[in-house]
């Protein structure tokens, strides 16, 4: 009896899996693994929108050398098991020629052995240093998000100029916050800065007054908060309510007008290192990034009625690198990899001007950030 039960089950599962295995193979397929749901969905959502927008634009313009582009976007649910399954599906079932993503460092790290074994280039959208270093062991891996340490360097340089020496840091207990925390702790001595308080909070916590007060009581002359999503607005509101009298710095995840709307007057005076996508209209016309920033921002706004922000920019850069490679060398994973490694030089993207080389698979540094302050509900570049 149980034999029959098993056969029936097997049959059902086989059918489920095989149902769409016989799709047409005409278009060029690239894959994207993004944290569309789960704790990191604040990052994955604009990335997904960006890729859909770009794919549509490219196909409208006739595709790549006459062939349409098909992007398969998988939701990794911000979690490694799902990321691994997504990668296996994209590589083995869909036979994609390149993978964009994942959105977070942890998921990217989990995929390194898989894409390396399958010999498929992967352009991660996450910031962690370990994703592309050591480069000798990351032959197939690139990334388009600035290193966390670049954002930290930008903040610390500014503090050095202002004579701030004692800092209290607040970080969220997720991969994003943790990477920031490690960079903050590691780089502080180099800039003559002491971390006097190292406070943490959990995703979806509702009040950070305690952490802020502890930092101030430890003698901090400034607060740095590292998180994305509603928590960073709550920190801003608590900071404002406490009338702390010391400046609040946020991470590069702060760059969304939505944050300014929700925080209201509490956001006045908050400083953060932001990618240029946020302040493109304030750049001088001759800035090499201005043209693409403008066209990207405007087309994204037209389609989604919201801003792409820093994270949409990461997806833009990764996608355009793959598209450029496809146009030049065709849908061959190894050739795409070689192209990205050797031909992305002085390449103006959304996140900065890329210089990728066999020694650096990211190609961005601290100059890709501008220090930005909130004034009258809008961004202002700090000189």
């Amino acid at each position: 009896m149980s034999l029959w039960r098993l056969f029936i089950l097997n049959l059902i599962f086989m059918l489920l899996i095989l149902n769409n295995a016989f799709a047409s193979k005409e278009p060029i397929k690239i894959g994207a693994i993004l944290s569309i749901t789960g704790p990191a969905s604040f990052i994955g959502e604009p990335e997904k929108n960006t890729i859909l927008l770009l794919a549509e634009q490219i196909n409208k313009a006739g595709g790549i050398n006459g062939r349409p582009l098909e992007v398969l976007i998988e939701d990794s649910k911000s979690e490694e098991t799902q990321a691994v399954l997504s990668a296996k599906k994209l590589i083995e079932k869909d036979k994609v020629v390149a993978i964009i993503g994942p959105s977070t460092t942890g998921e990217s790290m989990a995929l390194i052995p898989i894409v390396t074994q399958a010999k498929i280039p992967m352009i991660s959208l996450a910031a962690g240093t370990g994703i592309t270093e050591p480069v000798s062991e990351r032959y197939w891996i690139f990334k388009t998000a600035q290193y966390d340490r670049s954002a930290v360097e930008a903040i610390y340089k500014y503090m050095q100029k202002k004579g701030i020496k004692k800092v209290g840091i607040l970080t969220i207990a997720t991969g994003f916050g943790d990477q920031g925390r490690k960079a903050l702790l590691e780089l502080a001595p180099k800039f003559g800065i002491t971390i006097v308080a190292d406070e943490r909070y959990k995703p979806k916590d509702s009040d950070m007054t305690v952490q802020l007060l502890k930092a101030k009581n430890a003698g901090a002359e400034a607060i740095i908060n590292w998180s994305v999503g509603p928590e960073q607005i709550i920190v801003t509101k608590n900071w404002h309510a406490l009338k702390m009298g010391i400046p609040l710095f946020q991470s590069h995840g702060w760059g969304s007008k939505k944050n300014l709307q929700l925080a209201g007057p509490a956001a006045e005076g908050v400083i953060a290192p932001l990618g240029r996508i946020v302040i493109w209209d304030k750049l001088p016309d001759k800035h090499p990034q201005k043209k693409i920033l403008k066209s990207f921002e405007e087309s994204y706004m037209a389609k989604y009625k919201s801003e792409p922000g820093t994270f949409g920019g990461h997806a833009y850069d990764a996608f355009m690198m793959v598209v450029e490679a496809l146009k030049k060398v065709g849908p061959d994973p190894a050739k795409i990899r070689d192209y990205v490694e050797n031909n992305i030089k002085n390449w103006p993207g959304i996140s900065g001007i890329f210089n990728i080389s066999p020694k650096d698979h990211c190609g961005l540094d601290a100059t890709s950030f501008e220090m930005v302050i909130v004034q009258k509900g809008d961004w202002e570049i700090l000189q």
Partner: protein
Amino acid sequence: MELFLQFFFSGLTVGAIYALIALGFNIIYNTTSILNLAQGEFVVLGGLLMWYFLEKIHLPYGVSIILTLGISGLVGLAMERLSIRPLLKTADPLLLILITIAFSILLRGILMFLFGKEPYGYPPISEGAPLIIGGAIIQRQVLWIFLFVLFTMLFLYIFFNRTIFGIAMKACAIDSLSATLLGINTSQMVMVSFILSGIFASLAGVLVTPITFVEYDKGPLLTIKGFTAAILGGLGSNWGVMAGGFLLGILESLIAGYIHSGLKDALALLLLLSMLLFKPAGLFQSSEQARLRKL
């Protein structure tokens, strides 16, 4: 002292939120002995609907609240009809709890579909700078929440002890068979309790959102915290679960302030659990009371 007071107020703020959710658990538990683990999703639903009426189509505050509560009550009704009713007669309690989890996943999906993944917020009931008491600050909205918690307690007390309908509902929880024999329509009572609890949870969401913001996937965390508070305080007793909520919030805040902010959730939980081992019927009721409440 000032510092302690501030930590304490911060704990009260968080605790009030937990207490609200814990009370929501009680409404359904008291009439049906079911634990509704979709409670957090109803809180989120309240916040999101309120945002929609207030900020998107610009209705007045009062009208928005009434519409929000009305719709949430209907969702509570839908939940009872679609998921609880078909199982009520045959299934064991575990299945009933699991079905509420399954429904919470479904509700979360619908909320994501309708509102997307962004955080939302709107102004508090009374705007203005936070109040300063003894050098420590407390947000005005928190006072509204306290007021609402007290109102809920009073309402539940009067409803379950002074109205025929409420007494009938209580009878169903204690012994549904005898209640049926006495001519009480048991399944109608279950329906009413789900509607009531949906309304209360969404009102909690309406009040909490100006402080914490709301996004579609905030529910599970709220459920876990409220669930822990409710059971530790002593499920069944309104005073108990309310105290459980405040205690959890204050403990977390004091641990974050005086010990370690990274360990606050773990230590608070550990402390409460070890207390539970000495008072297995909940911290704020004796085992006699728990037995009378038919655990």
